[in-house]
Amino acid sequence: MRPGLLLALLLLAGAIGVLAGVATGSTGWASLQDEGMSLILWEIRLPRSLGAWCAGALLGMAGAMAQGLFRNPLADPYLLGSASGAQLAVAIALAFTGVSAQNSSLLAHVGLTGIAFVGTLAGVGLTLVLARGVEQTLRLLLAGVVVGVVLNALTNLATLWSPDILRAMQAFLLGNTGLLGWNSVSVMAASAIAALLIGLVASPALDALTLGEATATSLGVRLSLVRLLLIFAFALSTGAAVAQTGIVAFVGLVSPHLVRTFCATLHSWLILLSAAAGGALLLAADVIARAVIRPQELPVGLVTALVGGVYLLVLMHRRGAPKR
């Protein structure tokens, strides 16, 4: 399939998702003439749907960049201590402020968002420090694992120490799109554009890296600079998504795979297409999460984990089959 066509299809899927997201609610369809209904549509459902799309796009992009940078099809946005950093930051913030379990007030949410974002950057920064720079990919990955394990342990310690944050933590860990407003949408859109630009600038280097680090260097690619740029873009997009929606499983891992099954393409297209695919996936999951047990809703992370897991399994078995 031509990449342009796939992009058009994915964007179309995203647009249909936004329409479905606006139409789906705890009350089902309602008349648009109703004053209260238009407020709900405009101030709650539309930003929520667009926000879910943006978060998915950020994760898809981060996944594509991570898989290219680490030359590993299992790399995902939560590598390098990003997720565990955000998690620990949220846990500490909750433990200290003692926010109630239903911390749905806007102020608390905005505060937590900032803290989660800082936590992501701190987690990735710590990984870089422990790996002593970006010289070696394997060392980076291992340092990321170490940071992940240690920070998770600290998070568990925090929840042990103040058990009443457990519920709020759980809501964060399972992913949640319910609190997205126009603010979140603009923050995520801005991060997405910045990360996309960096990704596109670095994409020829990612293409060269597919043949290995030695070959990429021999082709004149300055690997250290490219790695630094990409890790920045990766942390920015992961941080923005995690801060706004919590930890949504599988979207970042699956999106690049989905794109690759449909077309063999260079990284410039892969990053763009993974963003479109991630957006459509997360939005679809969000609509499903809100529709299945109306008027209640499932955490969207649960839906992506279930659907994404099954999809990856299918993909794995199809890829394992003889190719010709």
Binding site: R71, L200, V201, P204, D207, A208, T210, L211, G212, A214, T215, T217, S218, L219, G220, V221, R222, R260, A264, T265, L266, K323, R324
Partner: protein, 253 residues
């Protein structure tokens, strides 16, 4: 005879072990140099270090200028490199992979020009891989893949090309094709260095570098008796070197 690349390497040390040491290697300009030696002799390490792709205790001079003084992209146009069994790139088409060889010639992010496409087509036709340009690299057989990777290195059109075991997975007719390619390059004034396991092919080179235990034990013309003696010393007395139809061949008997 001028020198395309001069490598003086005191040692390459990895995990407390010297992989190669006391290297002084001059690659002659406009010739085909073959590096041979038993497994673990340090051939690949030497090639990587000479190309500046391996951190080492030494100094390399490319076209009379220290290697590290070359700007990255300019150096990439001078020195093409092909690694040993390069893996990955399974999800790129063969054409896109070969186009990577034009990266040093293109302004960053600029689309390939007509000249780039022409160079890629010529390289792929030279290795007979043009037919599967639209296929994913991951769907090719080992030999087909190797020919695409070879085209990738050729597409750089660098005056000096270093290849690590370029003949792996190639069947005898394509090995002969590869030799013809190298001969054409050399006739055009380019220099080619290849690490080879195929002794009978290495004996067709212009210049032979023999390695053992991380050192260069002999350099010379493949037709010299001294070279034959050195080969027998390194590979053991069971190696027989004889002339068939004017060409030197080596057979383990």
């Amino acid at each position: 005879m001028s020198t395309a690349l001069h490598a003086r390497i005191a040692r390459v040390r990895i995990d407390g072990r010297d992989l190669i040491s006391d290297i002084d290697l001059a690659i002659p300009q406009g010739r085909w140099t073959a590096i041979v030696g038993p497994n673990g002799a340090g051939k690949s390490t030497l090639l990587r270090a000479a190309a500046g792709l391996q951190r080492c205790d030494g100094a390399m001079t490319l076209a009379e200028r220290p290697l590290q003084d070359w700007p990255a992209r300019e150096r990439a146009r001078q020195l093409a490199w092909m690694g040993q069994q390069e893996s990955g790139a399974d999800d790129l088409t063969a054409l896109d992979v070969v186009l990577l060889g034009r990266l040093p010639h293109r302004p960053w992010l600029a689309p390939p020009t007509v000249a780039d496409r022409a160079a890629v087509q010529a390289a792929m036709q030279a290795t007979q891989s043009w037919a599967w340009r639209d296929r994913r690299l991951g769907s090719l057989s080992g030999g087909e893949r190797q020919r695409v990777l070879l085209a990738r290195a050729l597409a750089v059109q660098a005056p000096l090309t270093l290849m690590d075991e370029p003949l792996a997975h190639l069947d005898p007719p394509h090995q002969a094709e590869w030799m013809a390619l190298v001969r054409a390059r050399v006739a055009a004034g380019h220099s080619v260095v290849s690490v080879l396991h195929e002794l009978h092919l290495a004996l067709q080179a212009d210049h032979l570098v023999l390695m053992a235990d991380g050192r260069i034990v002999h350099t010379g013309s493949p037709a010299d008796t001294a070279t034959h003696e050195a080969l027998k010393r390194v590979f053991g007395p069971s190696l027989h070197i004889a002339q068939i139809e004017g060409r030197w061949v080596a057979l383990p008997l």
